[in-house]
Symmetry: C2
Subunit: 279 residues, 2 copies
DNA sequence: TTGACAAATGACTTATTAGTCATTATTATA
DNA sequence: TATAATAATGACTAATAAGTCATTTGTCAA
């Protein structure tokens, strides 16, 4: 279903320029060169389009960052790599990042708010595991507080480069943030957010995903993509889920095959977790 | 014009609950117990209401913070006082802070975007003068960078308390932020934002205001308020602007009279600056 | 070539809401 | 009390945009 992708791309562009509310379906379809009716063959409603956009891009962004963090073996580079891949993702999907940062909540439906919360918690989870890995016991009392500092810094500086088209020195930015993070992690003695506070902001980061859900997602993706390698890899992975026959090396290779396809990032991330191929 | 105030208050409440776009004029007027037509006797349009809300509250918040900072003589307390009065203002006007944080930009008209920029720059100006006063030459190369750190921290933690009705320990929060700010100010060696970058984000913070504009504002306020003391003080201050006759002590006293009236905060702030009664 | 099926179209329906204005109610004044 | 001036009303207009569906267009197998 290539049409769906076209609509999502063009809609995102218009949303970033004008805002979501200010962009009528008609304008999106005109921009795509299709009829208004055709839109409703791909999406049930405008809200569904918005939800799909958020899911698509947040999944991709988070899967990217998490993968990068998990595959950086050298602790010295970890923090830098984290910031770098985060800003890299924001930059790559800057249209999405713009609407996401600026149009949070509004009134919108409950589903959207829950979604945004969910991805926010996921991001916090990644940051937390990074902090624990880097600083361990030293930040026992300050680690949850540190999460909010990191989020604040990221937000402040990313706004700067999303809404200013001046080219910026991403290397310097990341070095600078690494220094700041290390400073705060090493010397903070008065944390504001305690472990209890953090728990209180409930909604577990987990949300275990079942094998059935993954299979369903694979079937969905199979309908959407054409590339033969990715397609075959997905089919094999699906069969392996139903009845394990492949060796770990083959599974890992298949996952590498699909990892960089935009439609597969999320599912490959979930499968990596499912098979615990990395920690 | 008490009607205008009523509409602003009720509208703010509904905006904070449902979002601006999602709140029709009819609902606001119903909530006020007036007719729809009456709305248009007070405001030319819905956009004017929004602009007025932003002006009213931003002026009050910024005047408050600036006044507090300028009247804290003890440098030891300065940073703490700054954070405390900021969060105090956010808390006092939490409905406004909510819509302001969440609904930035959208598509909206040019005027709004310029307004928001303007107040953002004003806030940066206050933070900058605070940093310069506290750390002086030591932060020559990092002060502009520090501004973005402080803004990021404020944003991160204020979001936490605006959208979580749990009571929070504001004293601890401020102590914690003071420590963080001091850490960053004392040890940062790799700033990201250079003085040149900061200049590039142009639009001067100044925007000098003329005496005529102040007089016009006073006349506007005189139509809106009833309290006799404030009213007389304003009339005397206006006369003094046209033809200086009062001693500095009397002027200062008159300004103190109006300082805490919601409608007068901005004008009193401007007059303080105009007479340079404090630095 | 034809007929069956699917894909695509865009005029239409329905709903919402900003803003207007002729009419009515209220208040002030003579 | 009568009259003029002002304030308030809400039915109405006009504009916009989401979503529908009868009709047209395109595709492909027989």
């Amino acid at each position: 279903m290539i049409k769906k992708q076209l609509i999502m791309e063009k809609a995102l562009e218009l949303f970033a320029q004008q805002g979501i509310e200010a962009t009528p379906i008609q304008q999106i379809t005109d921009y795509c060169g299709i009829s208004k009716g055709a839109f409703y063959l791909s999406f049930k409603s405008k809200d569904e389009l918005i939800i799909d956009l958020i899911d698509h891009f947040m999944m991709e962004i988070i899967a990217d960052i998490d993968y990068t963090v998990n595959n950086t073996k050298n602790d010295e580079e970890l923090l830098y790599t984290f910031y770098y891949s985060t800003f890299d993702s924001f930059h790559k999907h800057s249209d999405f990042a713009k609407i996401f940062i600026k149009e949070q909540t509004k009134s919108f439906n409950e589903e959207l708010i829950v979604k945004i919360h969910y991805y926010d918690r996921l991001m916090e989870g990644i940051i937390l595991s990074l902090i624990e890995r880097l600083y361990g016991e030293k930040v026992k009392h300050t680690k949850y507080d540190l999460i909010y500092c990191i989020k604040g810094l990221m937000n402040s500086y990313s706004g700067l480069f999303l809404f200013n088209n001046a080219p910026l020195n991403r290397d310097l930015l990341c070095q600078s943030l690494v220094e700041k993070t290390n400073l705060l992690a090493s010397h903070t003695t008065v944390p504001f957010i305690t472990p209890e506070d953090f728990q209180m902001l409930k909604h577990p980061i987990k949300e275990e995903i079942t094998m059935e859900q993954i299979i369903e997602m694979i079937e969905q993706i199979l309908k959407e993509i054409e590339e033969p390698i990715e397609k075959e890899s997905l089919i094999l992975l699906k069969q392996h889920l139903l009845e394990p026959t492949l060796s770990p090396a083959i599974v890992k290779g298949l996952l590498e095959n699909i990892r960089n396809h935009p439609h597969c990032k999320w599912v490959s991330y979930l499968l990596f977790r499912y098979y615990e191929l990395e920690k």
